[in-house]
Each structure stands twice: as structure tokens, then as C-alpha cells.
């Protein structure tokens, strides 16, 4: 009961805060919510299943590029572009999963990182279509759409904010249902002791593949939404920094907690935002903060809170 209250409360707070936020933070929070969805997708694989991927930017970028380029080059419209982006992300994660999940541990990190680099290089290779680092800016025709009789204007900050919030709520619900149910229990069991889980009669490969596809699909959805809402797709989103960012958001907030990635995304974003006002060495500050975190709170903020005070936290 209190678990549901907490999650509904967080979503309600995010809804209400839009009425008091100044424009700058309003926009920032929209971005952060989309990045949080990406991190939540990442957490599904890393936090719950125990697989550390260093190539998740490829799923984000798959959603971003496929949705963005569909909107840019065709007249299928924004909603369809969004869906196609998600589907391609799902298909990509299935293919990558079948190959990469033959490995575990460090080898899995390296294989996913290599696939991530391949994705990045593929995008820059086809510069004629993707415009590489310069990127593509969405045409006016892709800035608004009609869906179910509603006219949605993506240049309108309020609509954008609430769309992002809606997607965040949807992701939260899906992840919540999955990890609190029997599937989540098996995924956590795989994280804790895969051999034992296999010997309890679970097909661990299929479970891991399922987790990876869900994770990749959520990441792709975040990417598709990001590209379409902010009208820009570029190859920087496919770089390894974006893969690592998802990992850092998750570590900061607490891997294996439902709300951790959201909290981590907000904190990390503002940590960089605030320190960069004072110094150019803002990444140093961030780095030191992360070292302190890993040394003293290896389970992240919510992970530590759960361990010490609130064992019921999902």
C-alpha cells in the first residue's frame, strides 16, 4: 500500500511542480524525465538482472534515429515514427541479446561496448542520411500531430512536459509490475546466483534475453521521445558517454530500486548544471562525487536507504 502511495506521490509531485517551476527548470526537467526513462530501462538489465552493459546508447540512439529519420524523411507522422522507433529498438535488442548473452561479466561489458561503437560508427558512416555529428533538425511538419482527436503541439513546453511525464508514468508502471511479480523474483535470483537459478529449473538465458529486450525497448522509447520532442537527432547521443551516463544515473540513485534511476538522473543533471556555473572543471566535481558515492554508498542513495531504514522499498 505505502509502496503504491510512494510511487503515485512521486508522479503527483512531478505533475504539480510544473506549475511553480521557472521556464529554464521546466525545460530541464522535461529532458531529465526522458533521460530517467532511459536510465530506468538500463536499470532493468543492470540493477535487476545484474548485467552491466556498456553499449546501451545504441538502443537510445536506435529509437532516436529511427523515429527522427522517419519523421524527417517520410510523412508518416509523429505517432507512427515514434512507434517505428520503439519497434526497431526492440528488434535491435533482441538481435544484440542473442549474441551478447552468450557471454557474462566482463566479456558482456566488452561485447556490448563494441556493439555500441559499431552503432555509433554506422551512424557516422551514413553521414549523407544521418548528417553525423551535425545531426538533423526536425521539420515544422514533425512538430505537431493529431491523435485521437487531440492536437498536440511539440513546441509547446507544457504539452511536452506532460507527455514526458506520461511516458515516465507508463515506464514506472511497467517496471513496477515486472519487478514486483514472479518474473522480477527470478531476475533478481539470476543476479544473485545464476547457476543456482538454472538448477531451480529456470531457463536463465531466456529470462536474461527478455530482460535485455525490455531494457532496450524502454531505452529506445526514451530516445524516440527525446528526438521527436526536442526536434533534433545527432550522433553524440550514440557515443559511449551516453552509455556510461545511464550507468551513472543508476548507480547514483540506486541500482535495483524502481525509483533510483529517476532520482539519480535528477541529481546528476543538477549537479552538473550547478557546478558548471561556478567552474569549468565541473566534471571533476562530478567525478569526485561519484568516487565518494562508490566508496561509501556502493548501493546508491535509495539502495542505502533501503538497506538501513526502509526495507520495503521496491
Amino acid at each position: 500500500m505505502r509502496v503504491i502511495a510512494l510511487h503515485v506521490g512521486v508522479l503527483a509531485a512531478l505533475f504539480l511542480v510544473q506549475f511553480v517551476l521557472p521556464d529554464y527548470h521546466h525545460l530541464a526537467l522535461t529532458r531529465v524525465m526522458l533521460l530517467a526513462i532511459y536510465a530506468m530501462g538500463y536499470n532493468m538489465l543492470f540493477g535487476y538482472t545484474g548485467l552491466l552493459s556498456l553499449g546501451h546508447a545504441m538502443f537510445f540512439a536506435a529509437g532516436l534515429y529511427v523515429a527522427g529519420m522517419t519523421a524527417y524523411y517520410t510523412d508518416l507522422g509523429v505517432p507512427l515514427a515514434f512507434l517505428i522507433g520503439i519497434c526497431c529498438g526492440a528488434a535491435l535488442s533482441l538481435v544484440i541479446g542473442v549474441i551478447a548473452l552468450r557471454t557474462t561479466g566482463v566479456a558482456f561489458m566488452i561485447v556490448t561496448m563494441m556493439f555500441g561503437q559499431v552503432a555509433y560508427l554506422t551512424i557516422t558512416y551514413f553521414t549523407d542520411y544521418t548528417r553525423g555529428e551535425e545531426g538533423l533538425t526536425m521539420p515544422t511538419s514533425a512538430r505537431s500531430f493529431d491523435l485521437l482527436g487531440l492536437h498536440v503541439d511539440l513546441t509547446n513546453a507544457v504539452q511536452r512536459y506532460n507527455l514526458a511525464l506520461g511516458l515516465l508514468a507508463l515506464t514506472l508502471l511497467v517496471i513496477f509490475v515486472v519487478v514486483r511479480g514472479p518474473i522480477g523474483r527470478v531476475l533478481i535470483a539470476i543476479r544473485e546466483n545464476e547457476t543456482r537459478t538454472l538448477m531451480l529449473g529456470f531457463d536463465t538465458f531466456r529470462m536474461k534475453l527478455g530482460a535485455l529486450v525490455l531494457s532496450g525497448t524502454i531505452s529506445a522509447m526514451a530516445g524516440a521521445a527525446y528526438g521527436l520532442m526536442f526536434a533534433y537527432v545527432g550522433s553524440t547521443f550514440a557515443t559511449i558517454q551516453y552509455s556510461i551516463e545511464a550507468l551513472l544515473f543508476t548507480l547514483l540513485g540506486g541500482a535495483g530500486t524502481v525509483l533510483g534511476p529517476l532520482l539519480g538522473s535528477i541529481l546528476m543533471f543538477y549537479m552538473i548544471d550547478i557546478t558548471s556555473e561556478y567552474t569549468q572543471a565541473y566534471l571533476l566535481v562530478t567525478g569526485v562525487a561519484l568516487v565518494v558515492l562508490v566508496l561509501f554508498f556502493p548501493k546508491g542513495i535509495l539502495g542505502t536507504i533501503r538497506e538501513r531504514w526502509l526495507p520495503w522499498l521496491p
Binding site: 514472479p182 546466483n193 543456482r196 538454472l198 538448477m199 531451480l200 529449473g201
Partner: protein
Amino acid sequence: MASVSLLSTKGLSRHFGGLKAVDNVDFTIIEGEIRALIGPNGAGKTTFVSLLAGRIAPSAGSIEFLGKDITDRPAHKRVRDGIAYTFQITSIYPTLTVFDNVALSAQSALRRHPGSKRSDIAEKAHEALGRVGLADRKGEKAGTMAYGHQRLLEVAMGLALEPKLLILDEPTQGLSDSEIESFCRLVKEIATSATVLLIEHNMPVVMQLADTITVLNHGQILAEGSPSDIRANAAVQAAYLGTG
């Protein structure tokens, strides 16, 4: 009473390079019995049961379970068929609660019964915990329990799988004398609903529990028979004591 073969192997072998860990073993276990598998260190006992459970693949030979060839069946499917394996080194989930540990087994077993509900998992988990006497510890973190209790949890996880064949790999290792005594009672109780294959070093336990004993040495079956036969067997004494 006609004895029904539950599991049998033919020419089962597993070689690690030049080492014949399990070498051409023909073995049959009868439904309902408690079978002990003994032998000196390095005789190939754990390798042999790992072959039965599907944790490693054989180099040659075949395994039959309930009349079906399962030689190439992956480990997780054998568990669903009814072969449960408990680890020699306690292999529970230390960070999860006792209840969640067993619930995972229960969940696995209940997939065989379509239409089962989530509450069935809890019920089944409680039942297994009750059988080993851990019901009042279900909320504890498994890793914080005493070693003897962790071993019992391991057995409860095996039980909740509803096995037809329960393989216990050195279950009394590290237990105190009083714990061993209650453990023997537990194994006898388990044997009323499942066939038990027991790897054990503790001879009093073996003599007390086993209906039949199989002695493995250098990967081969050295002797097989009732506890009194084995006790009197000169070859077995030689293998253990190194004389003769």
C-alpha cells in the same frame, strides 16, 4: 513388489583431458529408495551426480529418466522433469529472505500446474519450510542464518521443486551431531515422497539411512549392495584404507 527403475545410466563417462572422472558407469536407482553414493575423495561422485543433473555434459554414454532418454536435455528442463540437485557448497541466495529463496523453487514447480495462482507459491513455500522446520524464520535474510539452517534451507528449496529424485550432495557436511540426527529424520521423511540419492562421507549416516549403497572409486563402480554387504566388502575396505 516390482521395483521400477527411476533413473539409469549406460556407459556414462566424463573425461577431463586424460583424467577419467567418471568412467563407463552403468547405474540404476529404484523408485522410492534411499541410495547412498560413497567413495574416497576424488572418486568422481560429484562429477557423476552433476552429469545426472545436467550441470555438465557427458563424454559418452546415456542417461534415462522415467523411461525417457535425457542425455541431451538441458539442466533446467531436467529440474522440471523432477530431478532436483542440492549443492555441496551451500548455494542459497544470501541477500534474499528465507521465504523468497523457497518461493523461487515453488514458483518453478508450479509452472507445471497450469492455472496456479500467486498465493499457491506462498502456500507451497510455507509447506516446504515447515517440513524442514524453518517456518518461523521465513522473514530472515538467508545469509544471516546459522550454517546448519542454511543447509536446511537448501533442502527446503529442493523439496519445493516437488522432485521425483532429490540429489543431496554431502548434506551433513559442517553440521553438528545433534543437527545430523534431526537431518537423518528429515531425509527419512523426504523418502516417503521422493527417491533420494545421497552423497555422503559420514558413514554412520550412510549406514543408518541407505537402502542400497553404491561405492565409486576412480570413476568406476567398485561395489553395490546393502549396507551390511558393503561393510563386509574387502575391496571397499581396501579402497578406503589403502591396504590389501
